[in-house]
Symmetry: C2
Subunit: 341 residues, 2 copies
């Protein structure tokens, strides 16, 4: 074991570093700004795997030519409760920022609306997006496929991506109720961490290339991961593929993997976000019914169970006051990346 | 063990029996017709727990005064992509049939639309509803709470219902891709079957009233069930409560249970159905992209894994040809019910 130390940084310092590195790697300024914000959010909320570490991931996609560094996200006209943004092969963040105002407006106009991001490269979590919409008083659902890494229940060969589902619910005067989880048994990064550390994984995380359950992290990365929750998780993984793939005319996880052609880039494809305005159902009774939801949250927390995202929100409160601790080794890796640029 | 035999019936005989019994129990003819169809579908697809057996369940709710037998479902006006039906305390089926044409029209007009059924009594599965919408070429999601029976992950006291999620996807020329599962670890009926048979249940299905994991079916029925898939299933159960409860101004599972006040009736509350028209995203390219979805299904089935609902569809093919086999003991119980009416 090499001993790591860490360094305290303010969130402004994290933001400045992320923007500088992304720009040096060739990313256009508007994209760099949008992508940096998700890294700031990751560090701020204690999700270090979605923080500055992702500079290395983004740099790899940029170097491999997987992502268009100057893509201009374009809204496609629609008279419906549907907003489509063609991301032009760029990172998803700017495409989301481009579509967000139209999605919010459509949800308020029609009661329910959907935003499809097409042709975007994904390497971040979905919670910043549903949290932003919940912050506008909307209920939000988000789905995206990834690369074909996960076997369906009853099989052992990869079909699905890690296919996350995210949900946001507004809580007036409080942080929104937000969850965001992979429909795979564990995050792929978790298996990668075990591989790097030379540690065995539980035998119910995945299969080797011969379709046998395996405790060898590398064998499972080269074979197939399992879904969470047996056939139910598998059904949800298929739903995510369909909703954020063929439904919006975009790639499935297997197609994204084929398109990557071994370059090791982040997944390319689509994302579907559904936003619902409670006022569309409730009119001026929104406050009354949101208060009833609070009773359910109280029944959960009152028995010592935690709501999703509470750990993130607790970390956020500390980060906003004290800054964040960043691994010195990660910062050294980032400096190395900058020298190569 | 008492030996049971069974009797062959045509689907028309099942339909006639269900309608007759429901009418004798005091249910209005239009409701009896809509409710009978879900029982026919249950018998037809081999889901006997949602077949004629449900006559006993419906009769109990009617006798207990939990359900309004003559309720007239009323559409509430909306200029949005939202359809609301107030079911007037009647069974959900007629409310769904009343709202379905408007939901389909709204989905085609706006690309995405939502149907809220309010103030309805639920005792059936959700798959007939998403399957019907998928049969119209739409993608459909459905959610409903039930009674407060299920503990959140990290807790041991009931908050959620069994809270099913159903999804339907159109497959031109084939039966739709449909799933419908409870977010509880198992169906409540499964635990009831164990109790009646005097059989122990696995210790990870639920907790007794003291919050201890238990293998005693009755203790878990009186205590709390678990969600499937740990904290992920628990998050989804909370989402179902929120979407089909407070979002549409209707009861949570705990509130439904309180309203039942020990009468043992079926849950009262709401249901949310979201319908999406692929043409809203894809225009005249729908066929091309639905064909891409078929490749994903082929990748699942090609490795020997099953798609959800395949067992139902196989049973259906046989039932349509040969009729269905119904338990003679169940038919005797139904005759007993008729004599009491």
């Amino acid at each position: 074991m090499v001993v790591d130390t860490d360094v305290t940084m303010t969130l402004d310092e994290v933001r400045a570093l992320a923007r500088a590195v992304l720009t040096e790697q060739g990313l256009a300024a508007d994209h760099a700004e949008a992508v940096a914000e998700t890294m700031v959010a990751g560090e701020r909320d204690g999700c270090t795997s979605h923080g500055l570490y992702r500079l290395l991931v983004a740099a790899r996609s940029l170097a491999a030519g997987v992502v268009a560094p100057n893509a201009l996200p374009l809204a496609e006209p629609s008279g419906k409760a549907i907003v489509r943004i063609n991301g032009g092969g760029g990172f998803a963040q700017l495409a989301f920022e481009t579509g967000k105002p139209a999605l919010i407006a459509a949800a308020r106009q029609f009661g329910i609306a959907a935003l499809a991001l097409n042709n975007v490269v994904h390497f971040a979590a979905l919670w910043p997006e549903v949290e932003a919409l919940a912050g506008e008083g909307l209920v939000a659902l988000a789905f995206t496929p990834s690369h074909g890494w996960v076997a369906p229940a009853g099989g052992t060969k990869p079909v699905f991506g890690t296919n996350p589902i995210a949900f946001g619910w507004p809580r007036p005067g409080r942080d929104p109720f937000v969850f965001d989880f992979a429909t795979s048994a564990v995050a792929r990064g978790e298996i990668e961490l075990h591989r790097r550390a030379g540690k065995a994984i539980p035998d119910d995380w995945g299969y080797d290339a011969d379709g046998q359950p395996s405790t060898d992290a590398k064998a499972v990365l080269d074979g197939a991961m399992r879904t969470f929750g047996g056939h139910k998780g598998s059904a949800l993984a298929a739903m995510v593929e369909l909703l954020a793939g063929p439904l919006i005319g975009d790639l499935t996880s297997q197609e994204s993997m084929a398109h990557d052609a071994g370059r090791g880039g982040s997944p390319l494809g689509g994302e579907l976000i559904i936003a619902i305005d409670p006022a569309g159902f409730l009119g001026d009774e929104v406050g009354t019914h949101l208060a009833r939801a609070e009773k359910m949250f109280a029944a959960i927390e009152g028995q010592g169970a935690r709501l999703p995202s509470q750990r993130r929100y607790a970390a956020r409160a500390i980060s906003l006051r004290d800054g964040v601790r960043v691994s010195a080794r990660l910062l050294a890796d980032i400096e190395l990346l900058r020298k190569k640029a």
